[in-house]
């Protein structure tokens, strides 16, 4: 078991009313799974992903990640946990405009204790693996959307996470580019990386091993 959510609730209070973003979510994810989260806009897909990624908190319930109880550990410990095991892929890539491809890849490593030479080797490895060695000195604005997302995924993978969380990774791409990214995810999954993605597309979801449907914060 990689992670387990037990009866997770998350809400906001608005105008004296309690609005539930997540309602009684229970979910177990095993290592090596490729899960697609689906549902209409506002159903809580991204919120669920952020809770799993520990970027966002929740109000009730338990969350176990590996052997840790996320709901009871301190902020600092939690940051270490996701830093170590989780990689994020965003719909709008979120590459830093002022950094080159190479530097963008190196960035996550700066917050871990790697030596300069180790970092270099890891970046070179990643460039190689994604076939973007020729683009290493370009800035994000000089790349196509698909290429940018490729870099985004490479950046998420560089510190060898157990879990990749992808929030509509193909949302900004055309179908050919999207297909390419999905192929890549499949390949990564085959290599043993656990992936949870949020998607609107049935076709994308079909690449996964399991589909979770959300509606108004509930699993259906």
């Amino acid at each position: 078991m990689l992670l387990q959510l037990n009866n997770i609730f998350k809400w906001v209070n608005s105008g004296g009313q309690r609005i539930f973003l997540l309602k009684d979510i229970s979910l177990t994810v095993e290592e090596g799974e490729f899960i697609s989260v689906m549902g209409p806009s506002g159903s809580g897909k991204s919120t669920l992903l952020n809770v799993i990624g520990m970027l966002d908190g929740f109000d009730e319930g338990e969350y176990h990640f590996l052997d840790e109880s996320v709901h009871s550990i301190k902020e600092k410990h939690r940051a270490n946990l996701y830093k170590e095991y989780i990689g994020f892929v965003f719909q709008s890539y979120h590459l830093l405009d002022e950094l080159t491809v190479k530097e963008n890849l190196e960035m996550p490593l700066l917050y871990k204790k790697f030596k300069g030479s180790e970092r270099k080797a890891m970046v070179a490895d990643m460039l190689d693996r994604f076939n973007i060695v020729g683009k290493k000195d370009l800035f994000p604005a000089q790349l196509s959307g698909g290429q940018q997302q490729l870099v985004g995924i490479a950046r998420a993978l560089i510190s060898n996470p157990k879990l990749i969380l992808a929030d509509e990774p193909t949302g900004n791409l055309n179908s050919a580019q999207g297909e390419e990214i999905m192929g890549l995810f499949k390949q990564l999954n085959d290599e043993g990386v656990t992936i949870i993605q949020v998607t609107h597309s049935e076709k994308n979801a079909s690449h996964g091993s399991r589909i979770i449907n959300l509606l108004d914060g509930r699993m259906i």
Binding site: K76, L96, L99, P108, Y111
Partner: protein
């Protein structure tokens, strides 16, 4: 990581050139102002402190009780010096001095080599008290002989071409006396208040007033300055009360008390009220230090406002970094590091500006400041820079690093009301400070105009004066008679006082005098036609007239008559034999800081200045003519003349300098504030792009949109005006109260300052607003 951050920093500069320029111009201008002020302040604080024992050098001042309070004069009476050395064990040395400013320039010659040099009269232990380094001569002996002259190194080189074997040689003085060089000193450094080329013994003049005032044995007259060097560990309080007591014992009715004041403090703390030090130039030092800090704050505010306003541009960076595990601390370091780096870059620009503008600054402040790598100055500059960087970066660092990663990445960040208020508050502070500076400039400028155009009781324009020396002094009546015949000359006379500044005083007895009512009278020795030449007004009696043989007549000013309590002064007898022949309308003979003091004029033989009124517009020809006559009387002398109104202006030199400086600094402050506002307006227009587009699509005109965008800023400036004006009023009032005669504070000063700030702000914002309002609304909507 550092390398990464530095790269990010420089690349983001490239992307945001305009805000980078605004920041760097603002910060570097602020730093340059601060550096100028630091240079000036450190020079001011060092004045007269170069004397080795400056903390033990004291000056004898006299507190004189007038009916309206105590006046403090830094002059004392000559016998005080010997008395203090003889009677007070705490006093090591004392010296009576007639300062260069009063003693003036004198003609020296060696062979055919004739020049004029600034001298002073000093009594024997002068060089034991003050550390003017002697190159040759023994400081205990050099002024023992009445015919001894101590000259500066520069003067020695000018006269003899060398400093070798000069001691013992003769210098002809005023063409009629010989002085022997007894020593050579290195010359006074520029941070000395006393600047002189030579010094003579106090015994050099024993018969000629006013210089003989350094030799009299009466305690009642004043003139010379008396300086003492105290022994180490002397108790100044105890000494002062001892001196006061002894004075009282000598004369029960003496209205003067002597008090020893620290010499090197006098320069900065030279204003006295009721016998207490109440300020002086130190106020300017404090004022400018304050201005430096304010300008830096204004510059820092720009930085803060622009960085927080542009935060949206950095949100992604913060979000992504947080998502990969960066902690808040790393952002704090990153942002503070960036702002410190920014201020260090500004420092280099500022250094460049300072180097470029230093000559101009020196002319304004009348100093010879230089950019030196003096340890203290370097530490101070670096300190200011780093503190500025940290201050400027503190708010953005704390603010930006606190963002929530998810919110940031999803663009869900709600701009908090607090943030908006902080930014608005900072703009208000900036403008309030600028407005206070503008009001100050207007007030200082008007007060100086007032002083310069004040009815002084005489007419200072078109008056040329020069020294009565050599044959001119011996044959003054003939010279004056010849002078009056020259074309372009309206009138001429002689006097002992140049109408400006330092004078000597004495007490008098008069008919019906209340023995309690002792008054210090300023003495102005004059020749016939003086009152007419100066265009003074006689309010009772008559002026001096040869026909009456007025050599034993005296004329008082109105203040004197009032102080003496005389109802019908004309014909009354003074000092048993001198008749009061007239009363002259009060005229100002010191700066307007001081009240008009009791004064009398009498015909005196010791005239040392010739005053000439020339016809307006004929200055050049008239001076040519005077020079011809002068040379005929004094062949070989240098003719040096001065215009009275120039010297009158010099009375207000420090105010003039403050006015000019504050003008520049106020300009800088408003410039930096506007830079910030410009950046903010640019940013606001950008942020409200969608709103503007929607408004235009719904039918608002360009003008309406412009007004809407501008009015937000106008409101801020209005609030700043409301806050600033009362403060400015207090500040201005306080400054003006230092003048005995000053302008009233007029409403328009404040209105003008407010209007200026508002206008400049509106011009700044308006340009941006118009640009934003004119954009095609489709662009704004499409990008969303």
């Amino acid at each position: 990581m550092l390398k990464h951050n530095i790269k990010l920093f420089f690349r983001s500069i490239k992307r945001n050139v305009s805000s980078f320029l605004i920041n760097i111009i603002g910060l570097s201008t602020g730093l340059a102002c601060a550096m100028f002020i630091a240079l000036w302040v450190s020079d001011e604080l060092g004045v007269d402190k170069f004397h080795e024992n400056h903390d033990r050098i004291y000056q004898v001042a006299e507190n004189v009780e007038f009916s309206d309070g105590i006046q403090t004069m830094v002059e004392s009476s000559a016998p005080m010096a010997e008395f203090l050395v003889a009677q007070m064990p705490e006093v090591e040395y004392a010296s009576a001095v007639i300062l260069p400013g009063w003693f003036g320039k004198h003609t020296l010659s060696v062979g055919d080599n004739t020049l004029k040099a600034q001298g002073q009269l000093v009594s024997k232990d002068y060089f034991n008290i003050f550390s003017y380094e002697l190159i040759q001569g023994d400081k205990n002996k050099i002024i023992a002989d009445p015919n001894a002259i101590v000259i500066s190194k520069d003067l020695a080189i000018k006269l003899f071409g060398t400093t070798n074997n000069v001691v013992g040689k003769s210098i002809q003085y005023e063409k009629d006396r010989q002085f022997q060089v007894s020593g050579i000193f290195k010359g006074a450094p520029s941070n000395s208040t006393v600047q002189f080329d030579f010094a003579l013994s106090d015994k050099a003049y024993t018969d000629e007033a006013p210089w003989n005032s350094i030799n009299t044995d009466t305690w009642n007259s004043t003139g010379p300055q008396v300086y003492v060097l105290l022994k180490e560990g002397a108790d100044i309080e105890a000494l002062n009360s001892k001196v006061a007591k002894i004075r009282k014992e000598r004369n029960e009715n003496d209205l003067r008390t002597s008090v020893l004041i620290p010499f090197s403090e006098h320069y900065l703390h030279g204003t006295y009220k009721n016998g207490k030090q109440v300020g002086g130039r130190i106020e300017y030092v404090e004022l400018f230090s304050m201005i430096a800090i304010l300008i830096l704050i204004i510059a820092c505010i720009n930085f803060m406002n622009l960085s927080t306003a542009r935060a949206s541009k950095r949100l992604k960076e913060i979000g992504v970094k947080k998502a990969v595990g960066a902690k808040r601390k790393t952002f704090l370091f990153q942002f503070l590091g960036e702002s410190v780096l920014m201020s260090i870059m500004s420092l280099f620009v500022a250094l460049f500006m300072v180097a470029l503008l230093l000559p101009r600054f020196n002319t304004i402040v009348g100093k010879q400041l230089a950019l030196s790598f003096d340890f203290n100055l370097v530490v101070l500059t670096l300190g200011i820079t780093i503190v500025t960087g940290l201050l400027a970066g503190s708010y953005p660092a704390i603010y930006l690093s606190g963002f929530n990663a998810v919110a940031v990445l999803k663009g869900k960040l709600n701009r908090s009301v607090g943030e908006l208020w902080t930014r608005k508050g900072l703009v208000v502070v900036q403008f309030a400070l600028s407005i206070i500076l503008i009001v100050s400039v207007i007030v200082v400028y008007n007060q100086i105009q007032f002083a310069q155009n004040q009815n002084l009781g005489y007419s200072k324009d078109n008056i040329v004066y020069f020294k009565a020396e050599g044959k001119i002094k011996e044959q003054l009546p003939t010279f004056l008679a010849e002078l009056k015949k020259l074309p372009g000359i309206k009138n001429a006379s002689g006097t002992t006082h140049s109408m400006i500044g330092h004078n000597w005083s004495t007490s008098l007895e008069w008919e019906g005098m209340d023995p309690e009512n002792e008054i210090g009278f300023q003495i102005v020795g004059v020749d016939y036609d003086f009152i007419e030449t100066m265009d003074m007004q006689i309010v009772a009696g008559r002026g001096f007239n040869r026909a009456y043989g007025d050599s034993v007549g005296v004329i008082f000013n109105e203040t004197a008559i009032k102080a003496m309590g005389l109802e019908d002064p004309i014909g009354k007898i003074v000092e048993q034999r001198i008749e009061i022949v007239g009363v002259v309308k009060d005229f100002h003979f010191k700066s307007l800081h001081d009240k008009v003091e009791p004064l009398f004029m009498a015909i005196m033989p010791q005239i040392n200045k010739v005053m000439v009124r020339i016809e307006a517009g004929k200055e050049r020809d008239a001076i040519e003519e005077i020079n011809g006559l002068y040379q005929a009387f004094n062949p070989g002398f240098q003719f040096e003349y001065e215009f009275l109104d120039d010297n009158y202006k010099a009375l207000y030199a420090s105010e003039q300098r403050v006015a000019t400086l504050s003008k520049y600094f106020a300009g800088m402050a408003i410039l930096i504030s506007c830079l910030g506002l410009f950046g903010l307006a640019m940013f606001t227009a950008e942020r409200r792009k969608k709103e503007i587009s929607v408004r235009k699509v719904l039918g608002q005109t360009v003008a309406e949109v412009t007004v809407m965008l501008s009015s937000d800023f106008a409101k801020l400036v209005l609030v700043a005006i409301l806050i600033a004006l009362p403060i400015a009023y207090l500040v201005a009032n306080n400054w003006l109260s230092g003048f005995a005669y000053h302008i009233p504070l007029k409403v328009w000063y404040f209105l003008a300052a407010g209007a200026t700030a508002l206008l400049v702000a509106m011009l700044t914002v308006g340009s941006q607003a118009i640009q934003a309002a004119n954009r095609n609304p489709v662009d704004g909507l499409r990008e969303e």
